[in-house]
Amino acid sequence: MTEAVHHRPHPRPRDYWTIAAILAVITAAEVAVTYVDALSAAVAPLLIVMSITKFVLVVGWFMHLRYDSPAYRRLFLIGLVAAPLLLGAVLFTFGVLIGS
């Protein structure tokens, strides 16, 4: 029993270039944030948010996960959810809080 691959409209090359530009801008912003003293208290959450945004863009659009069979998403999500839970617990026992 095979699952049909969903054929929603694929992004076009122009969309890929746009996303690449966004990724570049976010990267520049990430670096900039670390140099701006006024933001130093908020550096960690800002960087995490920006990284996650880049992550979602690459996974969702470049890797096509947004447009593909939900099975792929679920398989990947198992790893994505398990990793912070399990490894976070380990770091907790060492008294290490992630991101600080």
Partner: protein, 196 residues
């Protein structure tokens, strides 16, 4: 001569099967890199009197490396797009571009590591050193394998041996390549930006 087996009326969706396989593998790899990153987080301050992150990291340089790798994801997806339109020549151009950017990234890594070693940070200097190099080394090895696969695809295409049904096809290599890129997104933030 190997054949993939089926009765005439049975055609499993081979492409779907391979994508299931690749996404399953990538889900597993998340935990691999997660474990490496966790080890780093545990040891990031255990510098044993040796160089710390602030001492050796060159954020501007690494930013450029990161940018290079990000752009390689663009060329990768363009290669796949060309493949879906059966424009093999254009696909090869983008494949070579991706491989080139990947090699540039690796060259940047090698250079960066050389500088760190000169500054006194090696795998044996401290747990920080051990875990930093293990994490980035694993990532670099993954990039290197990716480059090999990209070049293989390009050369196979040049000699006319790249069938859309073939195992190592552009989309699958693309998924792997993008994954290696997003691991670097995490590493760049967690290891570099958040440590200085």
């Amino acid at each position: 001569m190997a054949t993939e087996a089926v009765l005439v009326e049975e055609h499993p969706d081979v492409h779907h099967q391979r994508k299931i396989a690749m996404w399953t593998f990538l889900g597993s790899e998340v935990l691999l890199f997660g474990s490496l990153i966790s080890t780093f987080l545990l040891f990031r301050n255990r510098t044993l009197g040796g160089p710390t992150a602030e001492d050796v990291f060159d954020i501007p340089f690494t930013s450029i490396s990161s940018f290079v790798l990000l752009m390689s994801s663009l060329t990768m997806v363009l290669a796949h797009h060309s493949a879906t339109r059966r424009d093999w020549r254009q696909m090869r151009v983008w494949l070579f571009a991706t491989a080139f950017l990947g090699l540039t990234f690796l060259a940047g890594q090698v250079f960066e590591f050389t500088v760190f070693v000169e500054d006194g940070l090696t795998v044996t200097t401290s747990p920080f050193g051990s875990s930093f190099f293990l994490l980035t080394g694993f990532h670099g090895a993954h990039v290197a394998v990716g480059v090999m696969m990209l070049l293989s695809l390009a050369f196979m295409s040049m000699s006319g041996k790249l069938h859309p049904e073939r195992g190592m096809n552009v989309e699958l290599v693309g998924l792997y390549w993008h994954f290696v890129d997003i691991v670097w997104i995490a590493i760049f933030t967690i290891v570099y930006l958040l440590q200085v």
